[in-house]
Point group: C2
């Protein structure tokens, strides 16, 4: 349930919008099950209209920005501004639904070229205007919150017009893509060349190339295609001090890998305008299958074995007992009942669902890859329909979330990663922290990204929403989970730091790490206009 995507239709097709009231509904049996598990009351909690303050952008700044991007590309109307107010975290959506104070940008600026992005940043530095780079707006960590820091105003720098496939090098299998391209558009442009990025996070339907790079994205098929940072051959960054291009070779010993400093910089060092990416031939065959294993310990051992034997399926996803139970309960119907019976008959007391998916150039290749993955594991096969069901619903999390929010549910996800020897301990302490903080709740967990040395853990939480203080309710739980994570794993495996994880970064990278990031930021963004309050804790950029 990595949050994403246009829930509904009211989208400005040129420029993309933000969260809008949902029309999605939960099936009755799912709602019944949820009430039983969390004590949820029979309420409806419809959205209210959020307040939008007047724009604080000065006329001189507006005029100067108009001169850079051209008339019509500096927008101060309510819908444009509201459409770039925050991302898609639970708290963001509460705010967008009228709970709590929503930070709204003073203007939306739409540059038409990488050169214009540099000029916009210079202009903003000159006029004391903060800049929040905005791609698909799918951040779930406050990464695109319209914070102005100590600046007089804040704009959302929407990259929607940077939507070109710049070049394809079919010999080297590298494509240069502009940052504002949403992932599906990028795939459409690559398809005639026979290539794919194979990057499919849950935010796929809406997230952009630049956003993937800025946040070190990982996709559902990253076991096969690599994390987004593994795909990046080069970057073009616009900073207030000028343009920076990196990426001379597939590998290099010419000093530190500065690309890896730009990837994950979350708009705090500059705005990524173009990315050179490794592409692969589009798969001809995709095959997804469900399997069951008995219990979390056995399940995670299986995934570890696959990673360490280097035969992971391109998609490898293990649900814990709770997530498996919830998936089956929400699915409902006679097929699910039959499946439960079958699992009991096979002696699986605590079934964990394992979805495996393989991509290939032919049925033969996919069969061969499948054989290598499953060899010797004695998995209980559940068949292709279950795998296909997962594939079919892979982007549904956000829509389900919106439906849940209509009926008084607190629903959110969080994630981490650690080394194998601590995976189960980390899962246990995060579950405990969430349960202690929230009381009656459902905590589900899955591994969706496995490595030779460790794995990610992705948690989904459902509980009855506090009427008095829905935002505070979640913030307490999130803080408890984050404190449980800090020191045992990374504060984020693929959601990034944004505003929400910034307080925990020091535990992970040390005070020296923060100092280094701050020194890089001062070099590239001396007046600190870029994405204030994200990545680095507020005020740090001026420290040392």
């Amino acid at each position: 349930m990595c949050h994403t995507v246009a829930v509904t239709e009211r989208i400005d097709h040129t420029l993309r919008g933000r969260w809008t009231p949902t029309t999605a509904q939960l099936p009755p049996h799912a709602l019944r099950w949820l009430r039983q598990r969390t004590g949820l009351a029979e309420v409806r909690t419809p959205a209210r209209t959020p307040a939008v303050p007047a724009s604080a952008l000065s006329d001189t700044a507006h005029t100067a920005l108009d001169a850079v991007v051209g008339p019509g590309f500096v927008r101060v109307d309510r819908d444009s501004r509201l459409g770039r107010a925050g991302g898609l975290s639970y708290v963001d959506i509460l705010e967008q639904r009228g709970d709590g104070a929503l930070a709204v940008p003073d203007a939306v600026v739409l540059p038409g070229s990488p050169e214009q992005v540099v000029e916009v940043l210079r202009t903003c530095a000159e006029h004391d205007v903060a800049v929040v780079p905005f791609g698909g707006g799918t951040s779930v960590v406050g990464g695109v919150a319209a914070l102005r820091g100590d600046k007089a105003a804040v704009i959302a720098l929407d990259l929607a017009r940077l939507d070109r496939l710049v070049s394809v090098d079919p010999v080297s299998r590298i494509a240069v893509l502009q940052a504002g391209l949403p992932a599906p558009e990028a795939e459409k442009l690559l398809a005639p060349h026979g290539f794919t990025l194979g990057h499919v996070p849950q935010s796929y339907e809406r997230a952009t190339i630049g956003g993937f790079a800025a946040t070190r994205s990982a996709g559902q098929a990253s076991a096969g295609y690599g994390r987004f940072e593994d795909l990046v051959e080069g970057v073009r960054l616009a900073a207030p001090v000028g343009e920076w291009r990196l990426g001379a070779a597939p590998a290099s010993a010419a000093g530190p890998d500065l690309k890896q400093l730009v990837i994950g910089s979350e708009g705090a060092f500059g705005v990524i305008t173009e990315v050179s990416l490794r592409v692969r031939p589009r798969p001809v065959v995709e095959r997804y299958e469900g399997f069951a294993v008995d219990g979390w310990a056995r399940g995670s051992d299986v995934v570890r074995a696959l990673a360490q034997r280097r035969v992971l399926a391109d998609v490898t996803r293990l649900s814990d007992v709770d997530e498996t139970e919830v998936s089956l309960s929400l699915a409902g119907g006679w097929k699910t009942a039959a499946l439960k019976t079958y699992l009991r008959a096979r002696g699986l007391a605590r079934p964990c669902l394992l979805v495996l998916g393989w991509h290939g150039a032919s049925e033969d290749e996919v069969r061969r890859k499948r054989r290598e993955t499953v060899r010797g594991l004695r998995l209980v096969p559940l068949g292709r329909p279950l795998g296909e069901a997962w594939r079919h619903g892979r982007f549904n999390g956000p829509r389900q979330r919106d439906a849940l929010m209509e009926v008084g549910v607190c629903v959110e996800t969080l994630e981490t990663a650690t080394h194998w020897s601590r995976v189960s301990e980390l899962r246990a302490v995060v579950r405990e922290a969430l349960r202690d903080a929230l009381g009656d709740c459902v905590v589900m967990c899955h591994i969706s990204h496995a490595y030779e040395t460790g794995a990610s853990l992705y948690f989904t939480v459902l509980t009855a929403r506090s009427v008095a203080d829905p935002i505070g309710q979640w913030q307490v739980a999130k803080a408890a989970a984050s404190e449980a994570i800090a020191g045992l794993g990374t504060i984020s495996h693929h959601h990034a730091v944004g505003r929400d994880h910034a307080p925990y970064l020091e535990t992970e990278i040390g005070a020296l790490g923060l100092d280094v990031l701050a020194s890089v930021k001062r070099t590239l963004d001396p007046t600190g206009v870029l994405n204030p309050g994200k990545l680095l804790p507020s005020g740090l950029a001026s420290r040392t």
Copy 2:
């Protein structure tokens, strides 16, 4: 011929020494061939004793350092200092053989723990002493040249005493190794646990774990095991401002990957004291085979296909026509003659040697891997003896080089990498630059590291050494090659930047890249004691 290693025996076993006069000799037929190809005269050019100036380390600094590392671990004797004077480039060895001015450190300091390294750095910062971190001393780019910059004195910080295997996590397959461990010692310590790093550069016999990390090393089997930076799960860095530890998880989106800023920092940001490394089960079976392909274009297409199909052998190494001819000519004997006849009979007018090697847990696994690699390629098999001959001689380059230096040969290597669409152009321009600069010479080239998007190019040059100005002769050629590389590929694929490539770094990473590196250096090493003149062009650390 990636330079390395103890040529001879006169080594201080505790502390390791440096280049010493060679006893190796070229076989007569090889010398005859060389004279014919390069117009080499019949001379002997024996080494002379280099001048060693008096130590400039002040008594107060000496006393302060003694207090940190304990008596006996600050050495100012001639042999200790001479033993850490420079690395193993051709120019380094000329200087060590008495040609040109050799920069000799004023003292050798041997800290006994990571904590002591921090204290040594603080003490040096306090006493205006530059610090050159010293591992195996195998740099071929001036990375360990004893430059003092603007400091009063310079020490070699020899990490030889940091030689522990700190811990092994067999579940996560991670080992923590201290930086001063030479690679063979590291392997000996890992072997009882059943693990290997699989990192085998030509410098293997002498290079250290810390050096691998500091220079972004790549090994002969990196296609199978990954480049060294791919193995690094965490680092511990000692800087004048304190200790910095990184590495919470196998993958993370918690901001930029700062590990990748430490890896490749070449002692300019701090001294790497410990590295957490991914380890693999030791292979039970290793199989090497020789193959031939007709011509460079076809050969590089084959390697590209292997990389893009993701079926590279663990060792994949393609020699160009010249390197193939030289290898066969130097080998000599009736077997070689028979091989040449066989190649002609198979219709290979311009044979290129392709060595492939596979590692595995069983004969079955190796056979399976081999089958996937060679499928559909129609390679001309030359058999296992040829592969084994390569394996047997894989560390011999430096020894051959030393023998060549005794008989008046100028012999050096250089390397780069680029994307596939530019590989052949880059090879051509570098060959041309070297030939223009050197006149009669042999230029050989191979690909030893291939990626989906590109490959490395490794050049070896042989020519008659200038008597009047042997150092100037090579510097002109190196500059010409470096200028040919800059803009087309990386200035180094695995040798690093050091002193020799520093002038070309700006073309690769831009002025902003240099500014960013300088800002990081100022944060971690505010007084600039660490490895002056390496990585960053001199004086840059104080810029902006």
